[in-house]
């Protein structure tokens, strides 16, 4: 088999040959090839099977719009990627690619039976076919559809690659490095402005790389391109980003650019990230995205070997690959003639140029005649032949009256088509900039802008090299001026440019039964022209509905080659002008983007911040099991060898109740409130009264929202008359500080009080148990720990083990308790000293689970567990914490609303199960009568539930409608195994007289 590579042609690096495999077969290529160009050079046109009908498919385009040539690539273990477009994938030595969507092989595919059964798969077939019998949906139809759906195989193991991200700011961002983009960036760059230029391709140049006939400023297109690149390289103010796709245009000129860093390399450096997401904030943006060629819609337009004429020109001029020896051309636009001429000059025998237009410019016909190419104008295409590659095309004359004459068969080995060009308005459209319909060109063009952006070149409907350069230069200069620089657009002299025109078509006329024609509009989702007409017949009038019913434009290519053809057909079928039928919304990303690029650095250990306390490392070394609590990881329990969780918790609970436990409470939020109005500020924020709290004393405080519901709680100590040490819940720390700051700044700016977070300043060691004081007394200086001097709910400042401390006497266990605050860097050393000194009392480190059990035995609530944002202090049995004499506090007024005073509000109660060994499920619903009909009336739910080793039975807290008045009643808790009985009791299960706090 001879290669289709033409010696001396193209921009590939012939000094760098590579070998790659496709479906296991090894092929040669060159650096600079895409997989598509390299396969075509090896005469491989068949690269995949279509989504619905499993029809053989080839390469349609030469760019990122490719709907057909999707392949799987593997770069080693864990590095499999499905649905990569062969037209953008750069080949490298060792690349391994495979085709998709077929079984057992690409050439013989069982699924192709769908093609013969196509009548069943018309638009909306899912909705129609799988309706009966209804019971089949869950068990038969849906699993079957899901199994058949999807394109390519998902990766099965975690992605081993790393990804990067970077923020950037610039004066002018230019998207697209074709002639318009280059002209823009040269002007803006010369002004001295800070510029970023990005282009999705590996090489700058855009259409200049493929269309080689015209010259610029006396140079050939390629020579001018080289001089432009040299000039940019010499500008330190210009950052050039090839292989970088502008995926989205967001508010206030923020653009996301995805840069491919290593996918084109055979052996990337160790540790090199695969992609980088740039988040660029630009003062001015120039969009020079170019245009995308439209396919023509006719029966068999999807056969391998049928491709866009511009793509064939790219393969020839840019990659030195002839797509066929005997290509035929079918077109409604002059540009395909140039592709035919280029191929003819490259010694291909062009079978014919078939133009649907009755009249074509004389200079084109003359050139065709000179090259010996047969020309058929006013003809249509009605079919193609060839099983795995096109072998012939049927063409028919169309009379002035529209009558389609008899077919003529033209043998060919490639069929190049062009239906004209669609400006890429995607990014402009992301900004919600208005799109205007251009009737003459049958296209949408950027209208009024909403951001500081300009469109230039083909993407703005200004086709042709001279127009692109002129508009690009003007846009670049204007952008630089608007960014505050001096610039003036240069004029470019363009030689030998051929003026091009064309018309837009719907599906081409045919002499055969149009309802049987497989004339594809959306190649990736297998949507044909008749599907769109069927949708309209069935009542869909808006393009958004037609899109969803037919799935036109819904594949990974987002309809880049299909939307405008679909619209033309729909508009004809609806008999309304195209803008009235509408255009579907363009949404980011512009092309498929990896999840890795979005995640950037935030994966694995860096996925999210994991906050660790100063004592965390000790806990880890001592076998702690951890649990996440907001961003923190906290020691959950400390199992000894051979212990399960249940045994560990029971042992830890027992130690605290009988002797001494220690607990890392460093994660508690802490706020230092300082100023002459500190007590008054607390009076207004918390429900409790603070003015009379003595220096050196603490109080439990409850914080409400304006709605009267509990938001947070914590113990607050008065360190001096003007200084309070506030603690909050672990998860509520940032929220509470923000709420306080908000009130202070907006409601009470007159108060002389200031707030500072000290959460991380202090490591906090809770010592709980009857022996706590005995342990502390010899280790603490300058605080008298006697019962009289330092009773329950005291705070003092002194030293412990040589470190300064703020020592609290408080208890979240019901035992005598202290919380030792030391500056964070001393936390671990003090912990270790206390642990060592506590050995005489069998001191036992415990985690959050034991803390939860011990506090539940005492009926102490946890905000967020026992409350859910709908509980008032009274509901939570905290009515006592309300300062009734206070004129106001946040939420006070809401507490007197009639709703808040109803008897049947859900109230916090205790539950004791009839079977003491049953531990209820947290979240389980509660009913009064288990025999009522379904659905039962639920009156509350279990909020906390544990095995209490202290009591030798289970305990639970719950919220129950009118619960307090029901004390003593039996309620029922349906759980998966059976319905359990429980008795409503008070919330305090252990030591209700609080004797142990001072024992």
């Amino acid at each position: 088999m001879t290669s289709y590579r033409i010696p001396g042609r193209g921009r590939i690096d012939r000094n760098k040959p590579v070998r790659f495999t496709f479906n296991g077969a090894s092929y040669p290529g060159f650096q600079g090839d895409t997989l598509a160009s390299a396969l075509l050079a090896n005469r491989v046109h068949l690269v995949g099977r279509s989504f619905k009908y499993h029809r053989p498919r080839g390469i349609l385009s030469a760019g990122s719009e490719e709907p057909n040539a999707l392949v799987g690539t593997s770069r080693g273990p864990g590095r499999f990627e499905p649905n990569t477009r062969a037209t953008v994938l750069e080949v490298f030595d060792g690349l391994s690619a495979t085709s998709q969507n077929h079984w057992p092989s690409l050439k013989w595919d069982i699924g192709a039976i769908n093609d013969a059964l196509y009548m069943l798969f018309s638009a909306g077939f899912y909705y129609k076919t799988f309706m009966w019998p209804k019971s089949f949906w869950n068990k038969v139809y849906e699993p079957l559809i899901r199994g058949a759906a999807g394109l390519g195989n998902s990766p099965t193991v975690p992605d081993p690659d790393t990804y990067a991200s970077r923020f950037a700011h610039c004066d002018v961002l230019v998207v697209g490095a074709g002639p318009a983009g280059l002209a823009a960036v040269l002007e803006a760059g010369r002004s001295g402005a800070k510029i970023i230029l990005c282009d999705e391709q590996a090489e700058l140049g855009g259409s200049l790389l493929s269309e080689t006939d015209a010259g610029i400023e006396g140079l050939s297109g390629w020579d001018w391109l080289k001089s432009a690149k040299d000039e940019l390289a010499a500008m330190p103010n210009v950052t050039v980003l090839p292989r970088t796709t502008a995926i989205g245009y967001y508010h206030q000129n923020l653009l996301g650019l995805c840069q491919r860093l290593t996918d084109h390399l055979a052996s990337p450096l160790e540790g090199a990230p695969r992609e980088r997401m740039w988040k660029v904030r630009a003062r001015q943006v120039v969009l020079a995205q170019g245009s995308i060629e439209k396919p023509l819609v006719f029966d068999g337009n999807d056969r391998p070997g049928v491709m866009l004429a511009g793509a064939a020109r790219s393969y020839l001029n840019r990659y030195g690959v002839k797509v066929g020896n005997r290509p035929a051309v079918v077109t409604s636009h002059d540009s395909a003639w140039l592709a035919a001429f280029d191929l003819a000059q490259a010694s291909a025998k062009v079978a014919a140029i078939v133009d649907v237009r009755p009249e074509v410019a004389g200079h084109l016909k003359q050139r065709a005649a000179g090259l010996g190419i047969e020309v058929l104008t006013g003809w249509t295409v009605t079919g193609t032949r060839g099983r795995l590659r096109v072998s012939s095309v049927h063409v028919n004359p169309v009379s002035r009256g529209g009558v389609v004459g008899p077919a003529r068969t033209i043998a060919c080995d490639a069929l190049l088509m062009s239906g004209g060009w669609t400006p890429s308005v995607h990014l402009f459209s992301h900004t919600k900039g208005k799109l205007d319909w251009n009737e003459e060109g049958q296209m949408f063009l950027p209208g009024e802008r909403t951001e500081e952006s300009r469109c230039a070149g083909a993407g703005n409907g200004s086709f042709g090299l001279a127009a692109a350069l002129a508009e690009g230069a003007a846009a670049g200069a204007a952008a630089a001026v608007d960014a505050g620089f001096k610039a003036k657009a240069a004029a470019y002299k363009v030689d030998d440019e051929v003026p091009l025109t064309g018309i837009s078509c719907r599906e081409l006329p045919t002499d055969r039964n149009a309802s049987k024609a497989k004339a594809f509009v959306d190649f990736q989702n297998d949507v044909t022209a008749k599907d769109i007409r069927l949708a309209v017949r069935e009542g869909f009038k808006s393009i958004e509905h037609i899109k969803r019913y037919t799935t036109n434009g819904m594949a990974t290519d987002q309809g880049k080659t299909s939307n405008i053809n679909g619209l033309a057909i729909a508009s004809d079928a609806v008999k309304r002008p195209a803008p009235a039928v509408g255009l579907t919304t363009f949404r980011p990303p512009y092309t498929p983007t990896t999840f890795g690029a979005f995640a950037g650095y935030n994966r694995g250990e860096l996925f999210e911040v994991t906050r660790k306390t100063p004592i965390d490392a000790w806990a880890e070394e001592n076998g702690a099991v951890f649990e996440p609590v907001s961003l923190w990881r906290r020691a959950w329990y400390f199992p000894k060898p051979g212990e399960d969780m249940h045994a560990a918790i029971a042992r830890e609970c027992k130690a605290v109740r009988e002797s001494l436990g220690m607990f890392d409470a460093s994660t508690l939020g802490k706020i230092e409130i300082v100023g002459p109005d500190a007590a008054e500020f607390l009076n207004r924020m918390y429900t409790n009264p603070w003015s009379k709290l003595g220096v050196g004393r603490c109080r439990y405080g409850v914080l409400l929202g304006e709605d009267g519901f509990i938001r947070d709680d914590g113990v607050i100590g008065r360190v001096s008359s003007d200084r309070f040490h506030v603690t909050t819940t672990t998860g509520g720390a940032a929220r509470v500080l923000a709420m306080m700051e908000d009130y202070l700044q907006t409601e009470w700016p007159d108060l002389k009080v200031w707030l500072t977070s000290t959460t991380e300043q202090w490591a906090v060691i809770a010592l709980q148990g009857p022996n706590a004081r005995k342990l502390l007394e010899p280790l603490v200086d300058s605080i008298d720990l006697s019962e009289e001097a330092f009773p329950h709910m005291s705070v003092g400042e002194g030293r412990i083990c040589g470190a300064p401390t703020r020592l609290f006497r408080m208890s979240f266990t019901g035992e005598r308790g202290y919380e030792v605050n030391v500056p964070a860097r001393y936390g671990r050393a003090v912990w270790e000293k206390l642990y060592e000194a506590g050995q005489q009392f069998g001191i036992t480190p415990y985690g959050t689970e034991t803390m939860h059990v011990l506090r539940a035995e005492k009926g102490y609530i946890i905000v967020g567990q026992d409350t859910d944002g709908t509980l008032t202090p009274d509901d939570a049995a905290l009515g006592w914490a309300i300062g009734k004499a206070k004129p106001d506090f946040v939420g006070k007024r809401s507490l007197t609303r009639p709703d808040m005073l109803k008897d049947d509000r859900k109230q916090l109660v205790g539950l004791l199960t009839a079977d003491p060994n049953t531990v209820l499920e947290e979240g389980a619903q509660i009913v009064l009568d288990p025999n009522q009909a379904l659905p039962m009336m639920m009156v509350g739910h279990v909020t906390s539930s544990y095995w209490s080793a202290t009591l030798g039975r289970s305990i639970a807290l719950a919220v129950v409608e009118g619960g307090r008045a029901r004390e003593g009643e039996t309620i029922h808790v349906p759980m998966p195994d059976r319905t359990h009985q429980a008795r409503i009791v008070g919330t305090v299960f252990f030591d209700p007289e609080n004797k142990r706090l001072s024992a």
Partner: protein
């Protein structure tokens, strides 16, 4: 004396290739959050022995003492460790006539210095605003990839990050990932 545990102690990242970069955990210092009526900064400056910056974002330095104005009524102060108690005493004296809040946050924060021609590039991986535009000798509170930090541009190519200690590992991990890219120039 008790052993002090620092999250990042002794850790260092050094890149010596095309774009030199050095990232290191810096020695501890005394740190305070000062909140005070901006009308009274003359008195506060006297107490601290340094003219407190009058514009938000400005930094003033005198000897080993430094102040950054972070907000309308908020300054971040640093000083040598040994001066911790003296500073508290001086402000305590001021409190009688000029009420304010001085809170020791010396143990809350960890200092990281990022220095070299690639310093800006390293920081741009996680900071959304245009740090190239901020002049040397200024600072602000901002976000570095999910972590709140105070950033001071000490010199053209030297930045100091002050970050809460439990966020320090995260910030360090990001800087480490970025420095790999800088080392292999990708």
């Amino acid at each position: 004396m008790l052993h002090e545990h620092h999250p990042l102690v002794g850790r260092e990242i050094a890149v010596r290739e095309a774009a030199p970069l050095s990232i290191r955990a810096v020695a501890d210092c005394a740190r305070f959050s000062l909140r005070i009526d901006p009308a009274r900064i003359v008195e506060a400056s006297k107490a601290f022995g340094l003219s407190l910056p009058e514009r938000i974002g400005d930094v003033t330095v005198s000897g080993d003492r430094l102040a950054v104005r972070l907000g309308p009524d908020e300054w971040y102060l640093t000083a040598p460790l040994a001066e911790n108690q003296a500073i508290e005493r001086d402000f305590a004296k001021l409190y009688a006539t000029v009420p304010h809040s001085l809170v020791d946050v010396g143990h809350s924060e960890v200092g990281i210095e990022v220095e070299g021609t690639a310093a800006l590039l390293a920081l741009r991986s996680g900071i959304a605003f245009d740090i190239e535009a901020i002049p040397a000798g200024t600072g602000c509170r901002t976000i570095f990839n999910k972590a709140q930090i105070v950033l001071v541009r000490e010199a053209e190519n030297r930045f100091r990050i002050e970050v809460w200690r439990s966020f320090a590992d995260h910030v360090w991990g990001i800087l480490q990932a970025v420095s790999r890219e800088i080392a292999i120039d990708i």
